[in-house]
């Protein structure tokens, strides 16, 4: 009897596909981001990211102001990592101008970049848990640690998030008194925090059930879509620009590149935890080797005093770094004048976002949210 009812009612239970627009005002889309998803029941059959709500004309603006003038604007690309944005832009212009960066400034840059990586990954792990439904407890633990580093940034650059600290040929100001001691204390206190976080999360069965084998990104697809950063490394591809380009002084540091095996959300989470441990290693080394000296080259100092008159020789250059979210590159073309002729940002968040649909197909709506969270996007950088 039951059998007959089931067979009879099944055709009428087949549902119509439903199109849902998630965002741009949605608590879990990490900013003003919209996904148009087509659902069959709760399963995603189609997903289309809609971007551009935070478009601020960054590239065009930069083409209409002095070279240094767009430095504070780069802060606002990925507002979690303003220091690394500054470094990438400075690197591109320095390449074109051929100015050197003094030793001490190089070390300061590495310290800032790695602290930024800690800030970014810490916040990301917290937010990922928010997306999973662990509402604000892990995020608050993460913010507690992040806050300490932001305070450090404030004492150095004057602002917690909009640092505007790098200059062509060095950094804006030397480290204030007591900075290194404060930073060392933070670095020493980080491993206990990471262990606490891991005790809370890594072996947590609920987290494992939600994250393992969800949103798998295969190696080939990741490489073909030119995904970079922790998302790519979680899929098992050994690609870290710090190792490949060795920009700045990264060849002097001894660190490993953690890799994932499966390429699911869990791997992406865990790779970031491991990366933080490597960053701590780099930081310890940098504090040891940091020596006294000038923090900006003479040419850079003149340029910083009068950005309007700074000319960059004609040509083009591409400066790229391993930003916490992936390969951040600035492509600039100069005609020899005081403004860039063309200025382009290769934003990791934007490019990593393009494979969102491939990762989400066949999963439930709730999984799409954590897959999006695990890519780690910042809309300021996606839309620019």
């Amino acid at each position: 009897m039951t059998n007959t009812i089931e067979t009879q009612t099944r055709p009428s239970l087949s549902t119509q596909q439903l199109e849902v627009s998630i965002g741009p005002q949605h608590p879990s889309t990490h900013g003003v981001f919209r996904m148009n998803v087509v659902l069959d029941g709760e399963t995603i059959v189609k997903l289309k990211p809609v971007m551009g709500y935070l478009h601020r004309n960054h590239e065009q603006l930069a083409e209409n102001m002095s070279w240094l003038g767009s430095m504070p604007y780069t802060d606002r690309l990925d507002y979690f990592c303003s220091m690394t944005n500054n470094i990438a832009y400075a690197l591109a212009v320095e390449k074109l101008m051929g100015i050197d960066v003094p030793e001490r400034a190089q070390y300061i840059r590495v310290i800032m970049a790695e602290l930024t990586r800690l800030v970014n990954h810490t916040a990301l792990v917290g937010f990922l848990l928010n997306d999973l439904g662990a509402f604000f407890t892990p995020v608050l633990y993460a913010f507690r640690e992040r806050e300490k580093i932001l305070d450090l940034f404030e004492s150095v650059a004057g602002s917690r998030m909009m640092c505007n600290y790098m200059r062509f040929g060095g950094v804006k100001l030397d480290l204030p008194d007591g900075f290194v001691d404060c930073a060392k204390a933070i670095v020493d206190n980080y491993p206990p925090f990471l262990e606490e976080m891991e005790r809370l999360l890594t072996k947590n069965e609920i987290l494992m059930a939600r994250c393992q084998n969800v949103g798998i990104l295969l190696k080939d697809l990741a490489v073909n879509a030119s995904v970079t950063g922790p998302v790519l490394r979680a899929s098992g591809v050994n690609y870290d620009i710090r190792k490949i380009d060795k920009y700045g002084i990264y060849d002097r540091f001894d660190f490993k590149v953690p890799l994932g095996t499966v390429g699911d959300v869990y791997d992406r989470y865990y790779v970031r935890i491991l990366e933080m441990r490597e960053s701590l290693k780099i930081l310890r080394q940098a504090f040891k080797e940091l020596s006294a000296g000038p923090v900006i080259s003479q040419k850079g100092l003149i340029a910083a005093k009068s950005p309007r008159n700074m000319k960059v020789p004609a040509g083009d250059a591409y400066g790229r770094i391993e930003a916490p979210k992936g390969e951040l590159g600035f492509y600039i073309v100069s005609e020899g004048g005081t403004k860039p002729y063309r200025y382009h940002v290769r934003a990791p968040s934007f490019i990593n976002l393009t494979i969102l649909e491939d990762m989400c197909l066949g999963h439930k709506v709730a999984d799409a949210i954590i897959i999006l969270g695990s890519i780690d996007i910042v809309l300021g950088e996606v839309d620019r």
Binding site: G69, E154, P176, R199, T202, N204, L207, S306, R308
Partner: protein, 185 residues
């Protein structure tokens, strides 16, 4: 065994919960506005114009450099003129549009006359969107002693440099500041 991971995680949250009562690092927020964290010396929020003695005698010579360097172009400067219409070395109008300023500090860095600096004041909300947020010269003026108070290290450095420059200028035959004529465009 299934569930041990969750229990271990719970232990972490319980520990953190009791830490807020027992450990001095448990609560890491402060109850603003009753309590505040000490300000960092380099903290920058909004530019101010400094004067040495009298508020009418700003250090600013209205050279327009900061207005040209300001990335979002939020500074408006009009030179003052004397009765004969000759331009004076002081601003008649010096407005900064607070709604546009992005607190980058480039004006401070590029001013050759040590006239504009970033202040620490950050409670700047207003009810009016139009006029109240366009800061006029009078609203921006602060005595040099204010700057010395908020940023003692920088102020010391600047004072020393200015004293050295002043003796140099006095020693020169012509007392006109050479820097000024070079920088004006």
């Amino acid at each position: 065994m299934w569930g041990t991971g969750v229990l271990k995680g719970m232990a972490v949250t319980i520990k953190n919960f009791f830490d807020t009562y027992t450990s001095k690092n448990g609560i890491f927020t402060v109850e603003y506005p009753e309590k505040r964290l000490p300000e960092k010396e380099r903290f920058r929020n909004f530019p101010i114009l400094v004067y040495d003695e009298k508020p009418e005698e700003l250090r600013c010579v209205a050279c327009d450099i900061c207005a040209k360097e300001c990335p979002p172009k939020c500074i408006t400067i009009v030179k003052a003129k004397d009765a004969q219409g000759k331009p004076l070395k002081q601003p008649e109008v010096f407005d900064i549009d607070f709604t546009v300023c992005m607190n980058c500090g480039i004006c401070e860095e590029t001013c050759p006359f040590d006239a504009i600096y970033m202040d620490h004041e950050f409670e700047l909300a207003e009810y009016d969107r139009m006029d109240a947020l366009i800061y006029k010269k009078e609203r921006l003026s602060r005595p040099w002693t204010h700057f010395e108070k908020i940023r003692p290290t920088d102020a010391k450095e600047i004072n020393e440099r200015r004293a050295k420059d002043a003796t140099k200028t006095a020693a020169a035959v012509k007392p006109a500041p050479p820097q000024a004529s070079n920088q004006q465009t």
